[in-house]
């Protein structure tokens, strides 16, 4: 049985059914989970709108002129909701196609290998030899600032606005905060982004963060790093934030605040405490195959810890189920091969170790860099801000990490992922023929640069 119908849960159910298990999935809200309904998918739909806004703003460069450009945010939101709904139905169809029983309700563990599902007042018990928890995670609050759905939005509210805010404060410069900052700025809002660490997107390579910040500042987003929001006074017509930074304190006014400071696993009300299931810092502890310390209980996806990405959940789902079934050759997920993508403008995509991490791990490395302002296609489409950085192990030639910022890099990073999976070295990558003119060529040039033989820079 699987608890949770997101990209971890529904993939686990499908794979289990494919392998011959009698499978059921319990979901308390909507199939597709946060990803399809309140996360990945709707935000990408909205960000497409932001891209269009940007294109329209620079259309003059390409010879276009027009009057009376208007924008109806409700229509954009409607588009994102209809995409989410379509995909949810798609998951329901996949459940049916694979013979997975879908049970509506809220599940908790009554005992080992025993689930109790509550739905509209009725409680039903289910016995299962193997139970996979894929309950996901939710937004964290700060001690002094909580999401109230009104002045302080979480991601869910931020992706269903009824009107554009005038002055927006985004607290948190990780992937989610950065995406919302970029989205609202492109749509016309005055955005301030506050991050406690030294740079925005702190999980990315330092060179990428630097370029991202530069691009944001050029767009008019006020970026405050090394800063924290001490308190938020929502009593007046506008909210007043007390922000402490390296230059001291300042009070700034905003009509909307988005809180994006991290997430915490949904581990409450599952009956885990009485069964002594081990957790750590708000997430379930599981081994490389998703097995927890409780007999017959497994945990995958966001609820099982970082990285909190849908594709990590899906792969963990397959690994967990295949391991239970005894499929040959199942290996634990290699976290160094999970790509991370941020869909702000310019887009960010990376996989593997940053330069700093590679050095800290003791590798002697070769680094290649290629700046997109030398890439023909990027110039042709007027999106020549960006960088491709590749980090190789000097001895083995192994691609330790690849870091990209620029147009559509989220679609390009898979090339580096495939190279890692096949254990390619710089040699094979240098020999691979990339088509011209593409932005992807910069991937090839970055590899050549690591060998000191870049042609176009």
């Amino acid at each position: 049985m699987v608890v949770g119908g997101g990209p971890g849960g529904y993939v686990a159910a499908i794979r289990a059914a494919q392998l011959g298990f009698k499978t059921a999935l319990v979901e308390k809200e909507h199939l597709g989970g946060v990803c399809l309904n309140w996360g990945c998918i709707p935000t990408k739909a909205l960000l497409r709108g932001a891209d269009i806004a940007h294109t329209l703003k620079e259309a003059e460069h390409f010879g276009f002129a027009f009057d009376n450009l208007s924008f109806d945010i409700k229509k954009l939101v409607q588009h994102s909701r209809s995409v989410a709904s379509k995909l949810t139905h798609g998951v329901a169809y996949l459940m049916q196609k694979n013979g997975v029983t879908v049970i509506d309700g809220s599940a908790s563990l009554a005992d080992k290998c025993l689930l109790e599902v509550e739905h509209q007042g009725k409680i039903t018990q289910y016995k299962a030899t193997h139970i996979i928890l894929a309950t996901g995670a939710r937004a964290r609050n700060l001690p002094s600032i909580e999401i109230d759905g009104d002045r302080v939005w979480g991601a869910r509210e931020a992706m269903t606005p009824t009107a554009l805010p005038r002055k927006l404060l985004v607290i948190g410069g990780g992937a989610i905060g950065v995406e919302f900052a970029s989205l609202y700025n492109d749509l016309g809002t005055d955005v301030t982004l506050v991050e406690a660490e030294q740079r925005i997107t702190p999980a990315e390579d330092a060179d990428i963060s630097a370029l991202a910040e530069k691009a944001f500042v050029q767009r008019g987003i006020k970026v405050l790093t090394n800063s924290i929001v001490q308190s938020l006074d929502t009593s007046g017509a506008e909210s007043v934030a007390l922000i402490s930074g390296p230059k001291g304190d300042q009070h700034l006014e905003f009509d909307q605040v988005i809180l994006a400071v991290g997430i915490t696993g949904n581990i409450e009300n599952l009956g885990l405490e009485s069964l002594k299931v081990e957790t750590e810092k708000g997430f379930l502890q599981a081994d490389g195959f998703g097995k927890t310390n409780l007999a017959g209980l497994y945990a995958i996806g966001d609820v099982a810890g970082p990285p909190w990405l849908a594709h990590k959940a899906s792969h963990e789902a397959v690994i967990c189920v295949e391991k239970i079934a005894g499929v040959d050759g199942v290996k634990p997920l290699n976290k160094d091969q999970v790509p991370g993508c941020t869909y702000c403008r310019p887009q960010i995509a990376s996989v593997g170790l940053t330069e700093a991490q590679a050095k800290a791990a003791g590798h002697s490395i070769r680094v290649g860099r290629f700046n997109l302002n030398a890439n023909g296609k990027a110039l042709a489409i007027n999106e020549a801000e960006g960088l491709v950085k590749t980090v190789f192990d000097e001895n083995s030639g192994e691609l330790l990490g690849a870091h990209m910022i620029g147009p559509e890099v989220t679609e390009q990073i898979q090339g580096f992922g495939i190279a890692q999976q096949l254990e390619a070295t710089e040699h094979e990558l240098a020999q691979s023929i990339f088509a011209h003119p593409t932005v992807s060529e910069s991937m090839h040039e970055s590899v050549l640069d690591s060998l000191g033989i870049a042609i176009h820079q």
């Binding site: 298990f21 007999a295 017959g296 239970i324 005894g326």
Partner: protein, 493 residues
């Protein structure tokens, strides 16, 4: 193709076989036969198997008709070219039917396809004794035994010592076919998609050198078809997809059951041939019941103390979900150490004592049952037994057990308690010596010190092979087992 007349003789499968029943012919008189084709199904008390053609030719005569019983070595049919005269055929038959017991070594022929391949003997010249699989494993270092690479690899998989197999392949080396025939004769099962092969479609020869298109090769692997048996009609002398499919279609022709009576009921009947697994279960269990004189010893055990200990273990260890059956496995393992005369395998000639308790646990699966083995159960703790059993049962139901995980075992436990069955008798799994049938633990009235009381009682029935296990020994085992179940703490010592 030669002009010689080739006989089809009753094969000798195992030392004990003296005769066989003819179940079905795959061809009729006048049909073209290719080397390697299945010719006729023969059934003995131990096995149902198929004789394959060793030659190309036309089936000219059938002497052993369906339903008849013939002695080993008897002439059953004749293959020759279409041109050979009837008179010659008859003369051949006459000169061969007076001879009797000795099986003839069948001549070897070149199979149709191009490159270097193994020759194709009929399943006759296997003079090894009808030993259990364990006997096949014994022997000195067999790395110098002449064997094909495929046979050597499979021998390792089956755990068979090549010294025990007589080779009839090229230059008298052991071929894959020799190995598989020996395994089947010893009562074992073939590896891989063997569930379908074990009904008698015996492959012969090593077909890895046969020229075939990649698609044809893959289809052949999936269907368990040997490429040597396929005609060659593809370009550049390769077996192509159509050739493999043609052979598959031919193999799927099942012999019709002659049913004389006309049914006069409005009942609709849906007949289908039974699956390979069902055939194997049928053959083995019939052989078991017919060969081993079963006797049964029944005892009841009070398991209240055991249930209490189980609760304690499950509560104290989050990774533990120990079931009552896990306790029974442990108790049997301990009892087998105390009464080793039950921990045996018997193949009819040799009695093998085991130093550890490898306990087979019967698991019901779609269309049948399988008995995965908890190895060395006497060395495993309850939680380990529990986790092992659960993993084996999960994979058994998915069809993902490795052969060594269900072939072997020195004792078997079958538990129908979850269906509410109070008591039943099980059939011994050959070549084991005994099997324990476990019923449901239920509240029953008991008498303690002359007074009526209530306890949770479970019925256990041991079926034993009286050729090697006597009543007193079986009774002693059950009494030891009962003591362990009623006082689980004594298993700790």
């Amino acid at each position: 193709m030669t002009n010689e007349i080739k006989p089809i003789n009753m094969p000798k499968w195992g030392m004990e076989m003296s005769e066989g029943d003819i179940n079905a012919w795959y061809f009729a008189i006048g049909d073209q036969v290719n080397a390697g084709d299945d010719l006729v199904d023969i059934e003995t008390s131990k096995i149902v198997n198929t004789v394959t053609a060793s030659d190309d030719g036309v089936l000219r005569a059938i002497i052993g008709a369906t339903g008849e019983t013939h002695r080993v070595g008897a002439l059953l049919g004749v293959i020759a070219s279409a041109e050979t005269s009837d008179a010659d055929i008859q003369a051949f038959i006459d000169s061969n039917t007076s001879a009797a017991a000795e099986p003839e070594a069948v001549a070897e022929v070149a199979a149709p396809a191009a490159a270097a391949i193994e020759t194709a003997p009929a399943p006759v010249a296997i003079p090894q004794t009808a030993n259990g699989l364990s006997k096949l494993a014994e022997g000195e270092d067999d790395s110098l035994v002449a064997a094909s690479p495929v046979a050597r690899r499979l021998a390792a998989e089956y755990g068979v010592n090549l010294n025990n197999i007589t080779g009839t392949g090229r230059h008298d080396r052991v071929s894959k076919w020799d190995l598989e025939a020996a395994v089947l004769a010893a009562g074992g099962r073939l590896i891989g998609n063997s569930i379908n092969k074990s009904n008698g479609a015996v492959p012969f020869g090593d077909d890895s050198n046969v020229k075939a298109t990649p698609v044809a090769r893959r289809i052949a692997t999936q269907l368990g078809i040997n490429l040597l048996e396929c005609r060659v009609s593809g370009d550049r002398g390769r077996v192509c997809k159509a050739d493999v499919e043609a052979l598959a279609a031919l193999k799927n022709k099942m012999p019709a059951q002659t049913d004389g009576s006309a049914t006069v009921s409005s009942n609709t009947v849906e007949s289908q041939p039974i699956s390979g697994m069902r055939k194997t279960i049928a053959a083995r269990l019939q052989a078991s019941k017919q060969t081993a004189p079963h006797f049964r010893v029944h005892i009841d055990a009070e398991i209240d103390a055991l249930l209490e200990v189980r609760k304690q273990i499950n509560n104290s260890n989050s990774d533990a979900k120990v079931s009552v059956n896990d306790f029974i496995v442990k108790a049997c393992a301990s009892a087998l150490m105390k009464v080793p005369a039950i921990n045996v395998q018997f193949d009819g000639e040799q009695l093998s004592y085991f130093s550890n308790a490898d306990i087979s646990v019967a698991v019901a699966i779609d269309d049948g049952l399988i008995t995965p083995i908890v190895a060395n159960a006497n060395h495993k703790g309850l939680v380990e037994i529990s986790n092992t059993t659960r993993d084996l049962a999960t994979r058994a139901k998915l069809g993902r057990l490795k052969p060594e995980e269900f072939q072997g075992g020195s004792f078997c436990i079958s538990n129908l308690g979850m269906y509410g069955i109070k008591q039943f008798d099980a059939i011994i799994n050959p070549p084991q010596g005994a099997i324990l049938a476990v019923g449901a633990g239920e509240q029953r009235p008991v008498v303690k010190d002359g007074q009526l009381a209530v306890a949770t009682v479970m019925s256990l029935t041991l079926s034993s092979d009286h050729r090697i296990i006597d009543g007193a020994v079986a009774a002693q085992f059950m009494s030891v087992l009962k003591a362990y179940l009623e006082q689980p703490a004594t298993m700790l010592g």
